[in-house]
Symmetry: C2
DNA sequence: AGATATTTTTGACGCGCGTAAAGAAATTTC
DNA sequence: GAAATTTCTTTACGCGCGTCAAAAATATCT
C-alpha cells in the first residue's frame, strides 16, 4: 500500500483512470459496474487505501446504511448479549450498527431517539424502557424511522415487534415444577418497569388456576436496575416473615433469582431438588451467568439467536416494504426449558 | 411546538429573524452570541424544533464532537460497566459517544478503528484486545486520532494510558490473605489475552518471594471469553488432581473466580473463612456480580468512577493539547480491597 | 454626543459526494 | 460489419453547513 494520502473521490478516480461518477457508482453498489472496471477500482483501492467521506455520502442520500440498536440498559448482560448478536448480524449484512443504551432513564431514551433520527438510519431496533418510556416520543420516532421493537412490546408502536413468548416461558417452568414437586410461588418486583414481567405474572396466575391450584404471588419492593440486590433483599424479608407458601419458588427473571439464591446461601438454605434441599428455585431468561449460580439455575431460555435472526429478517422486509407494513407484525418466540441443579 | 418542519439552517435563521452565520455560530458555541440573540434563537428553537444536519456539520469541521469508546467484549459486565460510566460522562460533557465492541476478534477491532477514523472523532477511548490486537493497525490509528488507552496497556501506543494498578490489586489481596490465613495459590488462564493478567501473576510471584513464601501458580487451559466456564472446568481438574497446594486460592480475575466458586459448590466444598470451610477464595476486579456469588466474593475493586473520571480528564487535556502529549502519560489507579464472605 | 468596541449581516466560496442528462466509447447482437 | 445495447465520461447542479472578509448595525464608554 502506497503511503500517499488521497483527499477525495475525484483524486482517487483520476488515479484509477476512471471518472468520479463511475467510482461513486461502485461505492454505492460494487456490482453495478462492469467487472473489469470493478477490478480496476479494487486494485487502486489496494494501492491507495481510499475511503469515501461518510459525512458527505450520507448528506446526499435520503437513506443511509446506518442501523440503530437501542437497549434500555447495556450493563445488563441479557441486553449486552442480545445486542451483541444483533450487532454482529448487522455487520455481516453490510450495515453500520450503532449501539445505544438508555441507561434506564427516560430522558436519555428520548435524546437517543432524537439523535438517531438525525442519522437517517435505514432502520432501528428498539428495546424500549417499558413503563418508563415516553410514549409520545417513541410514537413520533416510529413515524419517522422504520423501527422494529424487541424485547418489550408497546402496543401499537413501531411497525413490528419481535420478542419472546412470555406465556410459553411460564408455561414450561410451571408445568415442569408442578410435575416434579410442589407447585411454585411466583417471586417478582412490585412495580416492574418491563412489561414482560406483567405478562409472566398473568401467565403464572392463569396456569395455576387452570390446574386447579392456588397462585401465590410474592411482590418485593425496589426500584431501578439492581435486580440482584432487590431479589436478595426481598428473599431475606420473605424468609424473615415466614418464608414462601410452598417449597418451590419461580422467579420472574434470572437476575432476581441470582439475588434470591444469594440470600438462600447466606441463610444456609440448600436449594435444589435432591434430599436435604430446603427449596427449589427456577426462573426465566437464561441469563449468561445463570449456569454459574450456586446451584446452577433451572430456567426458561430465550432463543437468543432465533430472536436476533427474526429481528434482522423483520427489519429487512420492513426496509424493502419502504418502511411501512400494512399490519403491525408481531413475532413471539417460545422458550426452551433448561434443567439445571436449582429445581 | 409548531408542527411545521424546517428544512435547513437558512430557513430557521429567517424564522428567528437572524442570519445563517449567526445561527451557525450559536450552534458551535451558544455563548458566543449576544445574550439577546441567544434568547431569540432559543425561543425559535422551542417553537420549531430544528436540529442542524449532523452530516453537513461534520463534513466541514476538521474535528467533530464525536468520541469513540471501544471495548474488547461488551458482553463482559466489567466492560459494560466501565463503558457505561464513560459514556455517561461524555454525554454530560456535550460529546456524542459512539460505543463499539470488538467482540474478541482482531479483524473486528481493526475494522472498528478504520471506521472510527472516518468519523473524525475528537478523541477515542480504546480498551484493546491485548495479545490479539493488531499492533500495526492500532499504531496507525493512534497516529491519526487522539487516543487514550484504558484497561489494557500496550507499551508506546496512544498518547496516554489510564488503568488500574495491577500491583496494588495483588498486593492488597495477597497481604490480606497472608495476614489472615495460609498464603494463597494463584489461579489463572494459561494464555491470557489481557496483559493485566501477566502483570498480576508477576506481582503475585514477587510479593510471595519478598515475603519469603513459595509462589504456586495454577494455570488452566482455555481460549476465548468464556472465563467462568474456563474457571469452573479448571477448578474441577485441579481438585481431581489433588487440589491446590494451600487452602487459599487467589484468582486472577472475578470471572474466573465465579467459575471456581461454581465448581466448589458442585463438589460440596464450602468456601469462606469460618469453621467448616474447606478453602478461601479471593480475586480481583469487583465484577458487578461478585457480591452475589455464593459465598460473596472478597476482591480487589477497580475504582470504576475514578478510572472513568481520569479517562475523561486525560482525553480533554489531550484534545486541548492538540492531540499530542510531549510524553506518553500513564495513570495507574490503585485498588480498593472489598472484604466479603469468600475469604 | 461622539468615538470606540463589539456583534451581526451580507455575500461568497468551499467541503466531498449524490445524481441527472447527454454524448462518447465499448461491448454485444444478429 | 453495422446496429443495438450497455457502460462510461463529461458537465453541471445541489445538499446543508463552515468560514471568511467587508460592511452595517448595535452596544459601551467617556
Amino acid at each position: 500500500m502506497s503511503g500517499y494520502k488521497i483527499r477525495n473521490m475525484e483524486e482517487f478516480a483520476a488515479l484509477s483512470g476512471l471518472s468520479r461518477p463511475t467510482v461513486s457508482k461502485y461505492f454505492n453498489d460494487p456490482g453495478s459496474v462492469r467487472p473489469r472496471t470493478r477490478k480496476r477500482i479494487e486494485e487502486a483501492l489496494e494501492r491507495y487505501d481510499f475511503r469515501p467521506n461518510i459525512f458527505a455520502m450520507n448528506q446526499n442520500r435520503s437513506l443511509t446504511k446506518n442501523v440503530g440498536i437501542v437497549v434500555p440498559y447495556l450493563a445488563d448482560p441479557f441486553f449486552a448479549e442480545i445486542a451483541r448478536i444483533i450487532e454482529r448480524r448487522c455487520i455481516d449484512a453490510g450495515f453500520s450498527p450503532v449501539l445505544y443504551s438508555s441507561h434506564g432513564e427516560q430522558k436519555l431514551e428520548v435524546e437517543i431517539l432524537e439523535g438517531l433520527t438525525a442519522l437517517k438510519p435505514a432502520g432501528v431496533f428498539l428495546a424500549p424502557l417499558g413503563r418508563l418510556s415516553d410514549r409520545g416520543a417513541i410514537e413520533r420516532f416510529c413515524r419517522n424511522v422504520p423501527t422494529v421493537l424487541f424485547d418489550s412490546n408497546i402496543e401499537g408502536m413501531g411497525e413490528a415487534f419481535v420478542g419472546s413468548d412470555n406465556f410459553s416461558f411460564v408455561q414450561q417452568t410451571v408445568e415442569y415444577l408442578c410435575r416434579t414437586g410442589s407447585p411454585p410461588c411466583f417471586f417478582e418486583m412490585r412495580n416492574p418497569a418491563n412489561p414482560n414481567a406483567n405478562k409472566r405474572r398473568r401467565a403464572y396466575i392463569r396456569l395455576m388456576e387452570e390446574a386447579g391450584l392456588e397462585p401465590h404471588v410474592i411482590k418485593v419492593e425496589g426500584e431501578g436496575w439492581g435486580f440482584e440486590e432487590i431479589g436478595r433483599r426481598g428473599a431475606h424479608e420473605l424468609f424473615a416473615s415466614g418464608g414462601p407458601a410452598t417449597d418451590t419458588v419461580l422467579c420472574s427473571n434470572d437476575r432476581l433469582a441470582i439475588g434470591f439464591l444469594a440470600a438462600c446461601y447466606e441463610r444456609g438454605l440448600r436449594v435444589g431438588r435432591g434430599d436435604g434441599c430446603a427449596l427449589r428455585v427456577a426462573s426465566h431468561d437464561d441469563h449468561p451467568f445463570s449456569r454459574f449460580t450456586c446451584p446452577s439455575l433451572t430456567t426458561a431460555a430465550h432463543e437468543y439467536e432465533a430472536v436476533a435472526a427474526k429481528c434482522m429478517e423483520t427489519l429487512f422486509s420492513l426496509i424493502e416494504a419502504g418502511g411501512r407494513f400494512e399490519n403491525r407484525m408481531e413475532t413471539l418466540i417460545p422458550a426452551r426449558l433448561i434443567l439445571r441443579a436449582s429445581a
